[in-house]
Symmetry: C2
Subunit: 337 residues, 2 copies
């Protein structure tokens, strides 16, 4: 961890803390008026904007002994920008409401700003505003905006029987990484990504701490005529079920198309004393990978980053795996367990 | 309190909880695609949008024994829409990230949705999206958007010597209400606004639990040529100081212009065993009233709702009261105390 442990948030006034954060925030190509006033002003060239919000809560979505501020900032930005991309939009801007305990190191907060910038700057998105409050646990609530560039939004509701089911991004990496951290198999209570050796185990841990989303694939899918799309944050089967119900179709996931994803997670499964079933479970139901699930008309050449993982069929709305009921392995609930 | 105590949040699945919330949310005149997909789509007729975010944290910004869900929802909406109005924009939409403990009554959450709707619907703003997470304390992070209707945004930086300093909204009501609740002088641990008798004490308590902002006065001020404007959420002197520093001017507040505000708070001051000094303190430094502070060129007829409270002068940037240094009574700090 690169965060210094001093000063603490409570050692600085709010204005002093903001003065350390502001210079770290990316400007953004659509920003007309940035942070510092009552509100920011952002360009919306086609007279519409896409907006989504996603919140991360300490000890629910991340643990401070595993994730430093940069990790959490990067993850918060990725989760939100993936939702923007899943509408077929290009991310333009985000705002951040941040709740921080007084005993949090200031370096954790500036790390968070850096993590946000690392994800936003490459796609031209600006961090244009925020709010700061004290509280007992860290909460990072991000709202992100995007530009549809004149296209219709790609909702969850447009999939038709005969469409190809396709996916862009990692599958199960985040769940495998969490399992490794849980088991202590990564070898450290607080792994520094820069110190973890190369290899599949490190990739899993990184996939949990700093998931990456194929943000450019969203607008490209829209250009190629994607009929439906969503960000897979709650697990492939659960989110595929949402698309299926919204569209009134059956979505069938073909495990044969996911064999390489399962193979990739075998070392992690073995490291936690489990086998191929666990790896397949991570691929089908693991959350927080932030890949994009989309459907395309038959015959369309899939855009870069997407690969076929099944098909859309007529029939009772829902998801099947190799033509069969997936049972109850369809993800998790925020308030369960 | 009208909230039922059962069921609790943990008794429902996330989807079940959302199904109870969605029907309560206002649609909004600018909403092109509402909640339920990865992101919403909102109209931005002049190819720009205004955006701001503001977070309320349990036991920092509200106490559950005093404020029910409706109060907190209304207050969260007001705090955010006031920031939009303070740019001279018309509110169009907001999104809400909500953190709730599992033992919170579902009625508290549906009350929050109703409170949001009570503030948003009259101005045509929609609640277009949200996110829900478990957590140990209630956190309500709202992001609000507005339409500048072709006008330039009114920032904090445009005040010029000679301008009139004007204010729209209540002064000190929220601080007086909090003092009454703190002192138990309101006569109930959990006052129901419908049960509190009419009168100034009840108005103060209501001003704390459900502050109201003159939202229409913001765009109207912009139309009349306001040179600078901001939402007064941290206290009149502190926020006036921000406007003064951003504009490079001296802002002088005239207490003679605020005499009626002080008079109005005298019953509350007396009820907590204090006098006129306390009432003046609430007027000058009390936070969370969400009125609008604006400057206008000399000779401009002030728009409806605004009244003169001082003037803009040349000189070292900062705020004075009746020409003198206001001392250290310039508000509060989020992490202090």
């Amino acid at each position: 961890m690169t965060d210094a442990t001093r000063p603490l948030v409570r050692d600085l006034s709010e204005d002093e803390l903001l003065a350390r954060i502001f210079p770290l925030l990316p400007g953004g190509t659509a920003t007309l008026l940035g942070p510092g006033d009552d509100a920011a002003v952002v360009a919306a060239p086609d007279a519409r904007f896409v907006v989504t919000t996603d919140v991360l809560v300490e000890d629910r979505h991340f643990r401070r002994r595993w994730s430093d501020g940069r990790d959490v900032g990067a993850r918060a930005a990725t989760a939100n920008l993936a939702d923007v991309a899943a509408m077929g939009a290009r991310p333009t801007s985000l705002v951040v409401s941040l709740v921080v305990p007084g005993d949090l190191p200031v370096g954790w907060v500036t790390g968070l700003a850096r993590g946000l910038a690392e994800v936003c700057a490459p796609v031209g998105a600006g961090v244009v505003g925020g709010d700061l409050s004290g509280g007992d646990a860290v909460v990072v609530a991000v709202t992100a905006h995007g530009d549809l560039e004149g296209r219709a939004p790609v909702t969850r509701a447009g999939a038709r029987p005969g469409d190809v089911l396709a996916y862009a991004g990692h599958r199960g990496l985040s769940a495998a990484g969490l399992a490794l951290l849980d088991a202590g198999a990564a070898g450290a209570a607080a792994p520094d990504l820069d110190d973890v050796p190369d290899g599949e185990l490190a990739a899993c841990v990184a996939g949990y701490l700093r998931p990456t989303s194929p943000l450019a694939a969203g607008p490209e899918a829209a250009r190629r005529g994607a009929t439906a799309m969503l960000d897979v944050s709650d697990g492939l089967l659960r989110d595929a079920g949402r698309l299926a119900r919204a569209s009134g179709v059956r979505v069938d996931v073909a495990t044969a198309e996911l064999a390489a994803d399962v193979d990739r997670l075998l070392p992690a499964a073995h490291a936690v004393g489990r086998g191929r079933d666990a790896a397949l479970g991570w691929v089908l139901t693991g959350g927080e990978d932030h890949g994009l699930l989309a459907t395309f008309p038959p015959g369309v050449e899939l855009p870069e980053g997407f690969r076929r993982i099944g098909q859309v069929l007529a029939g009772p709305a829902g998801v099947t795996v190799d033509g069969e009921d997936p049972g109850t392995h369809t993800g998790w609930d925020h308030f369960a367990g």
